[in-house]
């Protein structure tokens, strides 16, 4: 009974502490975002525009390549270029968050080793800046490609994706701290995962024998979900259920691992 109560409390903490941290520490999160913007844009002529321009220019580059050079605008129905661009932005956001998470503890160590800094804010810091950057870019891209309704729907895509990414952020933050090779290998793993996710191709273009990867790869569910949502299609409930189950399954152990690390990081860094 005690074990069950402890487990329930752990589950409640795992859900509430990291998710409510941005609300509880909103003044701190706000200043840390300003700090990050200052770090990234100080001395540049375009200043605060740069974080937004970077993914926007990247998307324009992809559009130029696939829509103009390869002329793939009208491949299969809604158009491949449109599909690819609306898939690529969430993926870029997802991969940027995970790569950054591997260095999260080291990045903020000057703060938490010298002051009373709440460590539960760190996962938020991996998520909040990409959310502020990629949400408007995705909204503008959806507006450009699909119209106003899709643009309004796009507002929730990146925040939901990032909340779902939280357990992976916790995992990558701890793994990146203790196993340096993890941070080096992750970009390569993410590139492989991108090729196994229907971003640069429609899901049905994958050879039949390899479609098991679509089922095994949760990012495929995300792609299905995003396109169904933005295009006004029927939401694939199986994907929703699978993503939710995976999230709940990962969040508790990942949060527990992160909390256990707290004692170590203040000594290690």
């Amino acid at each position: 009974m005690t074990f069950l109560l402890r487990l329930l409390r752990l589950c409640a903490d795992s859900l509430s502490i990291p998710l409510l941290a941005p609300v509880k520490h909103r003044a701190l999160v706000r200043m840390l975002v300003q700090r990050e913007i200052a770090s990234r844009t100080s001395g540049t002529a375009l200043g605060r525009l740069w974080p937004l321009l970077q993914p926007a220019l990247q998307i324009l580059g992809f559009w130029f390549l696939f829509a103009v050079v390869y002329d793939m605008r009208n491949v299969r129905g809604p158009g491949f270029a449109q599909y690819m661009l609306l898939s690529m932005l969430p993926w870029l956001c997802f991969s940027e968050v995970l790569v950054r998470a591997t260095g999260l503890f080291r990045e903020f160590s000057p703060l938490f080793t010298r002051s009373r800094f709440p460590l539960e804010v760190l996962p938020t810091m991996a998520l909040v800046m990409p959310m502020l950057v990629y949400t408007p870019v995705l909204v503008l891209t959806a507006m450009w490609l699909l119209g106003l309704v899709a643009a309004l729907k796009a507002v929730v895509v990146i925040p939901l994706l990032l909340v779902w990414t939280l357990p992976l952020v916790l995992l990558c933050a701890v793994a990146g701290l203790f196993v340096r090779d993890f941070g080096q290998a992750l970009p390569f793993v993410l590139t492989l995962l991108m090729y196994l996710t229907p971003i640069l191709y429609f899901p049905d273009m994958l050879p039949a024998g390899m479609r098991i990867w679509l089922w095994l790869n949760p990012m495929s569910d995300w792609m299905l979900l995003i396109h169904a949502w933005l295009n006004g299609g029927v939401l694939p409930l199986e994907s929703v259920a699978r993503l939710l189950a995976l999230w709940l399954l990962l969040l508790v152990p990942c949060w527990l691992w992160f909390r256990r690390t707290e004692l170590h990081v203040r000594e290690l860094l």
Binding site: L28, R116, F178, W257, T261, H264, R266
Partner: protein, 416 residues
Amino acid sequence: MVDSGFGNKVISLIGVGKSYRSYTRDIDRALEILTGKVRHYQYDALQPLSLQVAKGEVIGVVGKNGAGKSTLLKLLAGTLQPSSGQLEINGRVSAILELGASFHPEMTGHDNVYLTCAIQGLSRQETAAAYEAIVNFAGIGEFMQRPVKTYSSGMVMRLAFAIATHVDPDILIIDEALSVGDGVFARRSFDRIMEFRQAGKTIFFCSHSLYQVEALCDRVLWLDGGRVRAEGAPAKVITAYGDFLQQESAIVQPPLVTATAEAASTATTVATPVAAQAVPRVMAVKVRVDGTEARVHAVQSGKSRIEVEVRFLSVAALPVPSVGLVILGGDGRYVASMGTVNDGIALRAGADLTGSVMVTLPDFPLLKGCYVIEVYLLCEQGLHIYERVRQVAELNVEQRGLELGIVTLPHQWQVL
């Protein structure tokens, strides 16, 4: 466990200890966290310690380097977590440990105030309410919209100190220095800490300056090798610690070591330009032995008369300072000290703000050996040091008799 006897406790440590873990490989740390199986070697920085601190208490912490003082302060400041025991703190803690550590060089002073206050747990409204006071105290109003990377190190320290002491802490943790910066700001920062004391805030003060610890603290904790060696009334603990240092043949710091400014070490006369005057300064020190003024003196034990005359320049905005004098042995240990505050002497300054005081040591009682004199100009309370003048005179004491020790005590023989 030590109970202060005060009703309202703000700090409670019950068996709080800190051990640092050492791992052969980084991966072992991750595996230990995952599996719970111990894969480390550990050494204890702080043995389990129990302590209750009441609101308004000033606790001094003394001990040699490596005794566990910094570990204890970091545990209290929340930058370390205890390995064992229960640590409870009721109230907001502000630590003067690594001033400016949370500043970001690319952000303006204004934004760094908000960032540091946010880390301390203040809301934007609370920070906004304290902002003017912080800026006024730091005295760098015109720089607040510039990046901190353009500040001098002194400006960074002033701003950081102003923040640390304006976030309305209930508990203030001070590592070593009772004041920061120099000149006028050093005095202001010292006054600020004294205001905390008078306001009944709890203060943890860790220092090698035994004089200041004894003068300020209600209770002193002596740590040695991560353990509490003694705890109790300042006079008792400081005396025991001083004896310990002598037994250890450690180099004992002179009682007043946190000088904010030092005069030339070889001259007995110190001139200070009046235009640069911001805090009281020593203008001249003269040491006469049997009427002869020099820097190096031959002194007859029990016979010579020594006069030390100190001329100082006061500042209109501040109370007239006090003067202290220390006699050090050849090994750096302090042999004797005297101060105007301790002896109840109030100094005066004239219309030109200058003043003088002379202390006379008749029939110099120290036995043969080499001694040096140092002079201190201090605040009116005899705590904050404006200026320290080292080695104003060297005394080479000779004696005729065969007495042993360092001093001849007044005595009488009676044949019965």
